[in-house]
């Protein structure tokens, strides 16, 4: 058997099940040593492991983000209730360092255009818009209700999206939205959680 990328002779390629067990660190020591020995010789399998680990890491970070949204929403509500005058900085610039890095999380900020944080917007075809943060980026937009339930999640390379007709926002309610992106160089970008309300 040969490595498809180098043409060199290598031992038998591992099965999908073995590869998954290795990735999940669920492999007995002896079997792991054999597989690592193969990986050291087979670039194709190494690339497969690296690529799979990247996909899994991205999925996990996205899952953590979705899990954190309700907490962020609750925290935002608590801040709004407990700290009078917090809305004096609707763009969130007070949290931003001069370099545009979100001081709370170490992630680069994506600048929001609309809806402005804390604004009231007519329910209907709301436009979500933000500044482009770099070429070739894919953004993930999530809109949730006040309880953190995701109402709309979408991935896009655009920087303006219209809320689809199918997503109805109840009147007189508060909603949250957030855009995040992962740059090819590993930088993580976010708008941080934004808030808007619908009129009664």
């Amino acid at each position: 058997m040969t490595d498809s990328s180098t043409g060199e002779a290598v031992s038998e390629h591992p099965t999908s099940e073995a590869m998954a067990a290795y990735l999940g660190r669920a492999m007995p020591q002896a079997e792991r040593v054999t597989l690592e020995s193969h990986l050291a010789e087979c670039r194709a399998c190494r690339n497969e492991v690296t690529s799979a680990r990247r996909v899994i890491a991205r999925l996990q970070s996205r899952r953590r983000l979705i899990r954190a949204l309700p907490i962020a929403a609750a925290a935002s509500i608590a801040v709004l209730l407990l700290v009078p005058g917090r809305d004096a900085d609707p763009t969130g610039d007070a949290m931003r360092t001069p370099g545009g890095v979100d001081a709370t999380a170490g992630r680069e900020l994506i600048r929001v255009l609309a809806p402005v944080n804390g604004s009231t917007v007519a329910a209907g075809r709301i436009a979500f818009s933000w500044h482009p943060a770099g070429p070739g980026l894919r953004y993930s937009l999530t809109v949730t209700d006040a309880g953190g339930t995701a109402l709309w999640k979408v991935e896009t390379s655009d920087t303006t999206l219209l809320l689809p007709d199918g997503v109805r926002l109840a009147a007189g309610q508060t909603f949250f939205w957030l855009v995040d992106a992962l740059a090819p160089d590993g930088r993580s970008l976010t708008t941080r959680t934004q808030r808007f309300s619908t009129p009664p």
């Binding site: 999908s16 099940e17 998954a20 067990a21 690339n47 680990r53 996909v55």
Partner: protein, 222 residues
């Protein structure tokens, strides 16, 4: 430890009636479409090609009464999502090879063959063996005698690499041939942090250095 088969997969594998099977398949796709789209996109962002791969993955997973999915249920050593990423990625690879003759994962880009020599040069540099690095990078610069000694050095390095434990050999390959950043090297090897990987790398380079010195590789010129 055997992982539990997710309920949505359990229902799919045990659905006997066409109608229940169809509903179970829809539920499965709905539960895992995000993951599968992620894998399909990891092979390239071009929309049509990514959707083509996504469709292919779905077709393959459903083929022969979900033969591939049944393989997971029979094994169960890993989490289902981890297994699904591996299988979906392999389907994308096979599809690419079948369709275009060759298909590269995004991670292959930094591992092109042409980088081998530069990687070897970085490795020798770090080992600190006092060899002519420029000559290693450009064998055309050396005369016939030097070429023989240079080849000898490469053989010595290869032998020293082969004598390492598999995990250490893998560490060297991930770092110097694949050019991965240390956090990724650490993750690949199951190390808690990049600092652990750095520490081990220093130890392994020291081992290599001593192995080379034992066979006399310490001269400034080949």
């Amino acid at each position: 430890m055997a992982h539990a088969v997710p309920a949505v997969l359990e229902r799919l594998l045990h659905a006997s009636e066409p109608a229940t099977s169809e509903a179970a398949w829809s539920a499965f796709v709905s539960a895992y479409s995000r993951l599968l789209l992620h894998v399909a996109r990891s092979g390239g962002r071009e929309y049509d090609a990514a959707m083509d791969r996504y469709t292919q993955v779905l077709e393959q997973l459903r083929q022969d009464d979900c033969r591939r999915l049944r393989a997971y249920a029979a094994d169960g050593r890993s989490e289902f999502t981890t297994w699904l990423v591996v299988v979906a990625q392999r389907i994308c690879l096979d599809h690419g090879r079948h369709r275009y003759g060759r298909y590269r994962l995004a991670s292959d880009e930094s591992a092109a063959r042409g980088e081998d020599h530069a990687a070897r040069r970085r490795l020798v540099d770090l080992i600190g063996a006092e060899v002519d690095l420029a000559a290693l990078a450009d064998p055309g610069r050396v005369d016939a005698d030097d070429a023989v000694r240079l080849a000898e050095m490469h053989r010595s390095l290869q032998a020293a690499l082969t004598s390492l434990a598999p995990a250490d050999r893998l560490l060297i390959k991930l770092r110097f041939e694949d050019g991965l950043p240390m956090p990724e090297v650490a993750a690949n090897l199951g190390m808690p942090s990049r600092f652990h990987a750095y520490r081990r790398l220093t130890e392994v380079l020291d081992l290599l250095r001593r192995a080379l010195e034992r066979v006399g590789v310490r001269e400034a010129e080949p």
